[in-house]
């Protein structure tokens, strides 16, 4: 066990998988000599060389399309999109191609590939360095979407994603990179895709979150405890395939659920979580399922007042949780 940051855990995960399996390689903008703009691949270029750590042209469709082709031909590419906000040029390759290869060939082809994308706000990144993209991609059958919130999960889910036979969109919250530290188990520590994790046990209400919001919800649970409210915190970790059983279990256990994400609300992950609860645990609810999300505006502004107004934070979550607890 060692205490690591999220970014260190991601780097370790890539390094160990590249050492373990020669077919694993990294391609993306500035991933080579620069080591990535967040230093996620720091040192890997020197260690593995230019054929396994490839500085791509500044072209996201190229990054993903080339990764698809390499995966067809026996490799396990990790395609890095520098910021999740820049993934749009690659959407055709991700949605129409990567997500369809298995289905459209009735299983003849499969694509063992990972698309890593730093996402999320709270870093003064403005409209184009702050976005949450999980709902758009989670809507697409044929893609797996993961969004770890702790160093151990970041490493374990990255390993699972790299070893997975299907395309995985791996979302790493850039605010957590150096903010969130935690113990990472020695050895592989693979975290299975599709499994949520109860990060804190509780009985009065459930907070369901992922990414940076997990950290905030854990803070909120601590404050609620001081009020005598026992909050359970469920970390989704995987957005799709979503862990229905874990969602239903926590809803049944506490009867009160607050779903938290910074993505905009309309047709978002919270909406799906709420639908799962309504369909499967309606009879166990003591209150309407509630949510705290970013607002329905196109993206997060640069100005700090506007950014703070956009971002859910522990205060906003706490207020809503108290409202829910009081029902």
């Amino acid at each position: 066990m060692a205490v690591k940051t999220v970014i260190e855990a991601i780097r370790d995960g890539m390094d160990e998988e590249m050492a373990r399996d020669e077919s694993v390689f990294l391609i993306g903008e500035d991933v080579g000599n620069r080591g990535g703009v967040f230093l996620a691949s720091d040192g890997l270029y020197k260690k593995y060389g230019e054929l396994r750590v490839i500085d791509s042209p500044l072209a996201e469709s190229c990054i993903v399309g080339v990764a698809i082709g390499a995966a067809v031909n026996g490799m396990r590419p990790i395609a890095e999109i520098q910021f999740a906000d820049f993934i749009a040029p690659a959407m055709n390759q991700i949605i129409e191609e990567a997500a369809r290869f298995s289905y459209r060939t009735a299983g003849d082809f499969n694509l063992p590939m990972v698309i890593r994308a730093p996402w999320g706000g709270g870093v003064h990144g403005a409209l184009y360095h702050s976005q949450s993209i999980e709902a758009m991609f989670a809507h697409v059958p044929g893609l797996k979407v993961v969004a770890p919130g702790t160093p151990a999960d970041a490493k374990g889910l990255l390993k699972a994603a790299i070893r997975d036979p299907d395309p995985v969109l791996y979302l790493e919250h850039k605010r957590t990179y150096r903010l969130v530290k935690g113990e990472v188990p020695d050895g592989d520590g693979v975290v299975p895709i599709g499994k949520a994790d109860v990060k804190r046990d509780g009985k009065d209400l459930s907070l369901i979150a992922y990414g940076l919001m997990l950290t905030y919800c854990l803070e909120v649970a601590e404050k609620l405890a001081a009020d005598g409210i026992s909050a359970e915190v469920l970390d989704l970790r995987t957005i799709r395939p979503i862990d229905r059983a874990a969602i239903i279990a926590t809803a049944r256990k506490t009867g009160k659920v607050l779903v938290v994400h910074e993505d905009t609300p309309f047709a978002g992950v919270a909406a799906e979580v709420m639908a799962i609860i309504m369909e499967n645990a309606f009879d166990a609810l003591d209150a309407p399922v509630m949510r705290v999300t970013g607002p329905d505006v196109p993206a997060m502004p640069f100005n700090h007042v506007l950014e703070e107004a956009f971002m859910p934070n522990p205060e906003k979550i706490l207020a809503k949780a108290r409202e829910l607890a009081a029902v």
């Binding site: 082709g69 067809v72 031909n73 490799m75 191609e97 298995s102 044929g142």
Partner: protein
């Protein structure tokens, strides 16, 4: 580095195929695959017009470019990323008339997709045919990626991506050629320029005469070839393949050709092109032209031609009967293979 677009002229002579290193047997094999591609396609139109199948999209007119270029590759070790007209390419790479017809009738046994995709969306891992979707030009990046993997593993496989001149307008075409040029990947970019993207003529697609001219912008050679001259196509492809295997990088081959049919069974080409124009190009039919050459070369003797015709007809009959009677997928097949690794909700 000379990057001027080269134009390859059709050369005469009665032993062109031999001077290209093709035995009589190989030359006839090329002819037979062209014939088979055409015959299967014609049968599909017949069946479509009888209302027995909903959709057909054609290779007709482009078989010379397709088979001529595919014939320069090594099926089994090389790779192709075809587009939806490339029946000639995939037949050369080992697909059968039955496979084609199973796809045409969208049967469960369709090896391309289990009846999920429209006809013409080829794919077979075993045969090294990269599966294709309907958005155009995405396959060029896949081809670059396949070739990158070959380079990473130090294998000498060559990958050929095929596309129309309409797809040449897509950003993925630029991104793929740019990437392949940077890394000197063993890729053939093969543009089957048939003059129209559905109804839009080349003049509305680009301001230049030759797609191949763009190769200069990516640091590799561009070649224009008469796409209706199968041996000329073979020749330029062979040179491009040799160059690729030597590690010298990609080549953009533009085969000037023409499609004889409408874009698809749902298109009416009378709305955008003149019958006279189609008639002129039908006079340049790559199959008839090659047959004339082979006869003059003394390679295609009457009994040989008869045997080929019989084999082709027999395959078309067999494929039609087999595929039409083959079972459909069941409703249960709808939800399988969303992932390779099946996940329970």
């Amino acid at each position: 580095m000379a990057l001027k677009t080269t134009e390859v002229e059709a050369k005469g002579g009665r032993s062109r195929h031999r001077s290209l290193g093709l035995s009589d047997e190989q030359a006839l094999r090329i002819y037979e695959v062209m014939r088979l591609a055409r015959a299967v396609d014609e049968r599909m139109w017949l069946i479509n017009r009888q209302g027995r199948a909903p959709f057909v999209i054609s290779c007709q007119g482009q078989e010379g470019a397709q088979v001529g270029i595919a014939a320069a590759l090594r099926p089994g070790s090389d790779w192709v990323a075809p587009y939806y007209r490339d029946a000639g390419v995939v037949l050369w790479f080992g697909m059968t008339a039955r496979d084609q017809m199973l796809s045409f009738f969208a049967r469960r046994e369709d090896p391309n997709s289990g009846g999920r995709q429209m006809p013409g969306h080829f794919g077979s891992r075993r045969l090294h045919i990269v599966t294709g979707g309907s958005p155009v030009a995405t396959q060029l990046l896949h081809a670059a990626g396949v070739a990158l993997a070959s380079k990473q593993r130090k294998e000498d496989a060559v990958t050929a991506a095929f596309f129309g001149e309409g797809a040449a307008s897509q950003g993925d075409t630029h991104e793929a050629m740019n990437f392949a040029g940077i890394h000197k990947l063993a890729v053939l970019f093969v543009c089957e320029n048939n003059g129209y993207a559905i109804s839009v003529p080349q003049s509305q697609q680009m301001a230049i005469q030759n797609v191949a001219d763009r190769a200069a912008g990516y640091g590799f050679p561009g070649v224009v070839v008469d796409g209706n001259d199968v041996l000329a196509c073979y020749e330029v492809a062979r040179q491009a393949v040799e160059r690729a295997r030597r590690g010298e990088g990609p080549t953009l081959i533009e085969a000037k050709t023409y499609r004889f049919t409408a874009h698809s069974s749902d298109d009416d080409d009378k709305r955008y092109r003149q019958a006279e124009e189609v008639a002129i190009w039908r006079q340049k039919d790559p199959i008839q032209r090659y047959a004339t050459y082979l006869r003059e070369a003394g390679t295609l003797l009457d009994p040989v031609e008869q045997e080929i015709t019989e084999r082709v007809n027999q395959q078309v009959e067999d494929a039609t009967d087999y595929a039409e009677q083959a079972p459909d997928p069941t409703a249960d097949d709808l939800t399988t293979f969303v992932f390779k690794q099946e996940l329970k909700p």
